[in-house]
Amino acid sequence: MTTNDILHETYGALTANKVRTGLTMLGIIIGISSVIAMVSIGNGAQASIQSSIESIGSNLVIVTPGATRSFGAGPQQARGSAQTLTVEDGKAIQAEVANIGSIAFNVTSRQQVVAKGTNTNTTVTGTTPSYSTVRNVEVEDGSFIDESDVASSSKVVVIGPTTAADLFPDGDEPVGQQVRINNGIYTIIGVTKSKGGSGFTNADDALYMPYTTAQHYLSGNNYLSEIDVSAADAETTTQVQTDVTSLLLERHNITDSTKADFSTLNQADIIATASSVTGTFTILLAAVAGISLLVGGIGIMNMMLTTVTERTREIGLRKAIGAKKSDINTQFLIESIMLTFTGGVIGVILGWGISFVVSSLGIISTTVTISSVLLAFGVSAVIGVVFGYYPARRAANLNPIDALRFE
């Protein structure tokens, strides 16, 4: 039999009962399309979380006071807002740790910010000029705080675009205007560029001022709530983290590193953790979709077994006029492969469509990878072989005499 003959026979057999063929195929279509859609949604989620983490800075090591490292219940957890980091700690890091790109000292608090007739509650970050490089903050309008502002504790602030919109809803130019925070009057010297609302917090809803100003007028002490260290490159991030940790342990006279009164967080670690979380979710979604694929495969097997029984006489006849076992085996195997393969193609198109719709509705920006399409095709072909094998063998092994007598 030529390929052409086999395809002719297969087409005839599959179109003989279109409703049944369609319903059986539906199982595979749903399975394949959900695998494609789920994997693409998972990949999209992973990419969006990763980019939102990357947008907070590059090669960042974040030092915060308190031992947030131990998540278990215990007295240390209460020290989340502990005051253990000082400006001197930060300067020591800057002076002694190798491979540091830039470093920012932050004093963060929530404050009510009042403009003319409007007010908003936002995160006030007292920081150094280097913050703009460490945290990828760019100024749209005006300028960022500079060294002289820090040195003189100037009452100047830079606001985020969301904050600007909240405070000046009429579209007034914010730069040069004055706002009141905690009974002090501050002059706006700049507005930052939008970073886009990303995931956990809105980076555009922010207000920056020199850290010295924040210490003098808002917190009233010499402590820092965060030190952002930007390593020179991705390779040195771990080294910087290790060196910062040992330096601070030494400065704080702590010998047991598990009792540290600060914690360091590596941006790469955050990305890795988030990736592993979203990766797990993707696997979970794909596994659920995979189960539906399996169910679809069983549907194929069920239909093929029914077909073999229905066509027992036909199989007997084919054998009587000279078909070999292998001819019958091939014919039924090709039938089930065609069934799953066609279902697979439709499934890929449908899955692609679903992920396109999800993207265009703005829910999440999905990406259909070629590998997931190939995987889906491969899986559907394998399902055709696996679930078609037993029915095909059964057909091939029918005794032609019994098959011809079959009523």
Partner: protein, 235 residues
């Protein structure tokens, strides 16, 4: 030429075994029209399966065109069925929803013939079986019983077999259509020199052949040309 020598067939089903054929011997020359007749349970179906290479005998030998086919494997038997035997069944066994032409081409498809040759051979066989050309593109389920059996005969004829083996070919037909079918066999035998082996339980049907082998309880009880041959009335 068909040489069957002392063939037995025993069916084993657990403790009780049943001997369907108890030593059958006969020879069929090329170009003969022969009927194998016997009541149900006589072993004629078993004999037909062995003659048709659908089954192997328990003992004895069966030479088809000089080849011993009694000890062949499944695949070798399939080749013999494809190249040397043309089957006509009581229940026609055409593929439904398939055109007449393609039904007849089926043995040639399994024989890997060229598509052009398949079609010319199939047309030739259909015309020889007496089916009008206007039915060639019809689906097999759009035909009448007599037409269907002619298609089946054409299918049996298409591979130029050593013998046409017809198992109760008139069993599902009314007597008039039956006559037409038997007339077709007679014509194929007389004008084209085809060897036809007709399996039946009806003496009137058997009498259309030149020679009748009567089988009963697994043995040949008579093998003769003593009857008056009936001429099929199919015009």
């Amino acid at each position: 030429m068909i040489e069957v020598s002392n063939i037995t067939k025993t069916y084993d089903s657990g403790e009780n075994s049943f001997q369907a054929l108890k030593g059958v011997t006969f020879t069929i020359e090329d170009g003969e029209f022969i009927a194998i007749m016997g009541p149900s349970g006589s072993g004629k179906s078993t004999l037909m399966h062995i003659l048709g290479c659908l089954d192997t005998p328990t003992s004895g030998t069966y030479f088809l065109d000089g080849k011993d086919v009694s000890t062949m494997t499944d695949n070798e038997q399939a080749d013999i069925r494809r190249d040397n035997i043309g089957f006509v069944f009581q229940s026609f066994n055409l593929l439904p929803r398939t055109t007449v032409l393609r039904n007849v081409m089926l043995p040639l498809i399994y024989a890997n013939e060229e598509p052009e040759k398949r079609e010319t051979e199939a047309r030739k066989a259909l015309l020889a079986a007496g089916l009008d050309e206007k039915y060639f593109a019809h689906k097999s389920n759009q035909l009448s019983g007599g037409q269907i059996q002619r298609v089946a005969i054409a299918r049996a004829l298409v591979n130029n077999p050593t013998m046409i083996l017809a198992d109760e070919p008139t069993g599902n037909l009314d007597s008039r259509t039956g006559e037409i079918v038997l007339g077709t066999f007679q014509r194929l035998n007389e004008t084209l020199g085809r060897t036809v082996v007709l399996i039946t339980h009806e003496p009137e049907v058997a009498e259309h052949a030149d020679r009748i082998i009567v089988i009963r309880d697994g043995v040949v009880v008579s093998d003769a040309k003593t009857h008056t041959k009936r001429k099929a009335d199919h015009k």
